[in-house]
Symmetry: C2
Subunit: 207 residues, 2 copies
């Protein structure tokens, strides 16, 4: 699709005018190349061609491939699903774990996350953007642990962010270090393990 | 150091004769490039030069950069430390977690693990080798959970491999997705969380 100022197709356009549409096209192309070929194959001229956007625009607005990855991660953090409130710690952590599992088990999203994690290993600016993405996700979900502490489900002084990270960790570890499938049962096990450990006081901060 | 058939310096030589010394030099150079520059910069001719080994030898024995990574992971699995037996599940998992933490917190080893995980994301043969490495490590440590089940510390039917993976997972997740330090307290928390969840039955296999 050529990006124009013409009235957009309501089924495909994103709000925000031409600037937002250019950004959406460029970030879609970036995600596509990352998922299909990896960070090493990102190239600004190629992205401009795929997005059907002028090369000058891409160089001026994003500057480097790291700039593209950083902006993509910012967009992913802003677009990501708000947390669910179920009324129990196990319910909330299960909702969180299933969201992570669905994302990682999706071939395209899973490949994208692998690619940005790989990029972070070799590029400090991509790493900062990746840490920002995960920090935003952890902050979004941490209140479910604080609410569980207020309800008396977990001990006072429980590190809420650590419980959220513990819920995601086994799913990422399974994706990155094994050929095992990643299904709903894995999500549910990750959530119950984190909830059980939290109830047992494993995440209480050291005094 | 030039590799020769001459009597080796006992302080630096590895056992096994010239073939083993060539392999050691090539794998050392491979680990060095991976840790310093990443998978995308591996090159057989460069490895031959760094290892002071004939280019033909490297091409004939390893064939591709993926072949180098696969052999390095095989060597890492064979050289890795055998498990500790402390007599309690928490003690054994703590020993395991501290070993993982020390490895990942070491700048060189941490960079090497990041690089091989990144390589696995873009290269199916490197992925197979990586899965083999982690599978060997998990199998090495799984008996500590089976012994805990025999002692009645965890319920019958506990998935031993899943408990071992759960012990490592938060340490890898912290390394890959945050800028937070990775210290002994993180290892101890990962071990107590996995032990508490295992005692609570979170890793019992579905019937």
């Amino acid at each position: 699709m050529e990006l124009t100022e013409a009235t957009p197709d309501p089924g495909t356009a994103r709000p925000g005018g031409r600037t937002a549409r250019v950004r959406a096209a460029v970030l879609d192309a970036t995600a596509e190349v990352l998922a299909e070929q990896g960070f090493a194959h990102l190239d600004l001229t190629d992205i401009a061609r795929r997005a059907e956007v002028g090369k000058t625009t891409v160089y001026r607005r994003w500057g480097t491939v790291t700039g593209l990855v950083a902006d993509l991660l910012l967009e992913m953090a802003q677009q990501s699903v708000p947390r669910t409130e179920t009324g129990s710690l196990l319910g909330d952590l299960t909702a969180n774990a299933r969201l992570v599992q669905r994302t990682l088990a999706d071939p395209r999203q899973g490949a994208l996350f692998r690619a940005v994690i790989a990029a972070a290993g070799s590029d400090p600016k991509a790493a900062q953007a990746l840490y920002g993405f995960y920090s935003a996700r952890v902050e979004e979900w941490a209140p479910c642990v604080e609410q569980a502490a207020a309800r008396g489900e977990v001990p006072d002084g429980t590190d809420a962010q650590e419980v959220i990270r513990a819920t995601s960790a086994p799913l990422y570890y399974r994706l990155l270090t094994t050929a095992l499938p990643l299904d709903t049962a894995d999500a549910d096990r990750a959530a119950s393990a984190a909830a059980a450990a939290a109830r047992a006081g494993a995440y209480v901060r050291e005094p």
